[in-house]
């Protein structure tokens, strides 16, 4: 009897000790990624894996190939495996209540990456995301400073019509230039976030604004459209970066190459490191139970030609953008 008690006590102290070491280092975390819809998404995946490796987290990765049912299956799988936490980059906003309740019932904290969901905030521990309005604002503030009170006509390449980054990045930029009557958006069209459409739409802008002479700056909702537009500006016989200033958002490697060549002026980073803050919050929670705020906003950092773009390009190139 005593022996049995002893072994139970021993066993539980051992288990406790084990649990202690688990919370310190080897967490097992499931990550349900949307898929590889864009270069940024691929970079987010590789940065998440890097962050996990750096912190000694055992990351279980599931690629949902843009399908919610795959994500739900993956989350159920993680719950069944009894992971310590689940990271989800939700592909759509709705339909998560049931599966996230299952995770909650199993006491597994869920952290949303990059996108939010419709539904009770009780279903997840926190959400790590960028502030898209702020991104637009940072770009706008840069332009206000650059224009320095001079007249500046801006053309805008919007993202896919109706998408939340397009709406918010437009809003933020407009807020930033609102107090500066010399800066005006004279044309705004959608370039669907792609290079080809960015180039085609910019060609139209250049024709419509007497060969581009009226245009002082281009604001593109993502770097890919800016890269396409830069080619259109060159083909029209103007110098991108000098004749027409180029500011965009995302900070993908190719825009740093353009900045190094003097063809783009500034970009606002949408950091692919959403997992870093998520792991920080998780480690703190596991250590002493501190609950993070419901929303963790990542930094929207501005890069210009002065920030050694070639070096950043080399750093970012390997991330799978």
């Amino acid at each position: 009897m005593i022996n049995v008690l002893k072994s139970i006590v021993l066993g539980s102290t051992f288990a406790l000790a084990l649990a202690g070491s688990v919370s310190a280092a080897s967490l097992t975390v499931g990550f349900s990624q949307i898929g590889s819809e864009s270069g940024w998404r691929a970079a987010e995946t590789s940065v998440t894996k890097q962050q996990a490796e750096k912190r000694g987290v055992d990351l279980k990765f599931a690629d949902a190939q843009q399908k919610q049912e795959n994500q739900i299956k993956a989350i159920r799988g993680f719950v069944a495996q009894g992971v310590d936490a689940i990271l989800v980059a939700p592909v759509v906003a709705t339909g998560w209540e049931a599966v996230l309740q299952e995770a909650k019932d199993a006491d597994i904290p869920v952290i949303l990456l990059d996108r939010g969901i419709d539904g009770s905030p009780d279903l997840y521990m926190t959400m790590v995301a960028s502030d898209q309005v702020l991104e637009g604002k940072v770009a706008g503030e840069w332009l206000v400073k650059q224009a320095a009170g001079k007249e500046c006509n801006v053309v805008e390449l919007q993202g896919t019509t109706g998408s939340s980054p397009a709406i918010n990045r437009k809003k933020g930029f407009e807020e930033a230039i609102a107090g500066t009557p010399t800066i005006k958006i004279i044309r705004s069209q959608t370039g669907d976030f792609t290079r080809a459409k960015g180039k085609e739409v910019m060609e139209g802008f250049l024709k419509a604004e007497s060969g581009g002479k009226n245009i002082c700056a281009l604001y593109a909702h993502n770097d890919d459209m800016a890269v396409g537009a830069i080619q259109a500006i060159k083909e029209a016989g103007l110098k991108p970066g000098t004749d027409i200033k180029v500011v965009s958002i995302d900070a993908v490697p190719d825009i740093f190459k353009a900045m190094a060549d003097g063809e783009a002026n500034a970009t606002v980073e949408l950091t692919p490191n959403m997992a870093g803050p998520a792991f920080d919050a998780l480690e703190k929670f596991k250590a002493d139970g501190t609950l993070p705020p419901k929303q963790i906003i990542t930094e929207s950092k501005l890069y210009t030609q002065a920030d050694d773009p070639m070096k950043v390009y080399e750093e970012k190139k390997g991330l799978g953008y």
Partner: protein, 336 residues
Amino acid sequence: MSRLVPGLRKAAPQFVCLAMILFFNWLAFPGFFDLRIQDGRLFGSLVDVLNRGAPVAILAVGMTAVIASKGVDLSVGAVMAMAGAVAATMTVSGHPLLVVLLSALAVGVACGLLNGLLVAVLELQPIVATLILMVAGRGIAQLITKGVIVTFNDPGLIFVGTGSFLGLPMPVILAAALAIFAVAVVRRTALGLLIESTGVNRSASTYAGINSRLLMVMIYAFSGFCAALAGVIAAADIRGADANNAGLWLELDAILAVVIGGTSLLGGRFSILMSVLGAIIIQAMNTGILTSGFPPEYNLVVKACVIIMILLAQSVSLGAAGWLPRRVPAAKSKEA
């Protein structure tokens, strides 16, 4: 000449539409017809219409033949992405231009052959058979590029997309050459007649001695070739292969161009030049929307309204009611 006059009369609705679209473009943006020389090439909105319309025009040339044979090729957009991906990755790994171009075009032909085999030999319905590659092709393209936009700086390949010849952009030259070649082949030989006959009634044509199986495989292979050419141009234009977006939904634009051109989706009579004109009409509308300064929320609605009007203008019953200057097509003769 005697054949040209009825041909032109038949094309009247399309020419009227194009003229009207150009007129509205001019109203919305008075500089629409301005042309100037920039770096040794013509520069202006009209050139943009031709240049941006070239990939869809090239797709429409192949699509016309497929639709005339009572088929449809939904895979052309995905084949564009694959050909672009192959061209970009091979260029990056240092292969010479000729090898790159031939490989990319060969990929297109191979995809077309696959479609042709599924349709003509295994007798799958064309819409289903080509849907397979429409879905899988984009995935294959993403595998080739490993999900990133593969960028290149090879001047030879870039020339295909952005160079110029005789003052016109290369894509326009390539599209024109392809269209003229295709028209010459189908109309100077019996090939066009054979395609039409297969499209109207395949079994009757087979009994009449036409090797319809081989003919259809060749037609799909040609469509694949056209798609690959458009894909190389699209990639060269942006100096990169964007597997996610290259050629996305362009199969629908190509089908629309063929329909605007007056070729029936039920097969039979077709006109390659009219399909090219259809592609130009679509692009004139797109470029017009871009230069007009409308908010982007209106793009699709404006586009849809214009398309409805174009198709109504071609409508047989409206023409018969005497509303529009159009002959009721009684004679089932071939016209280029």
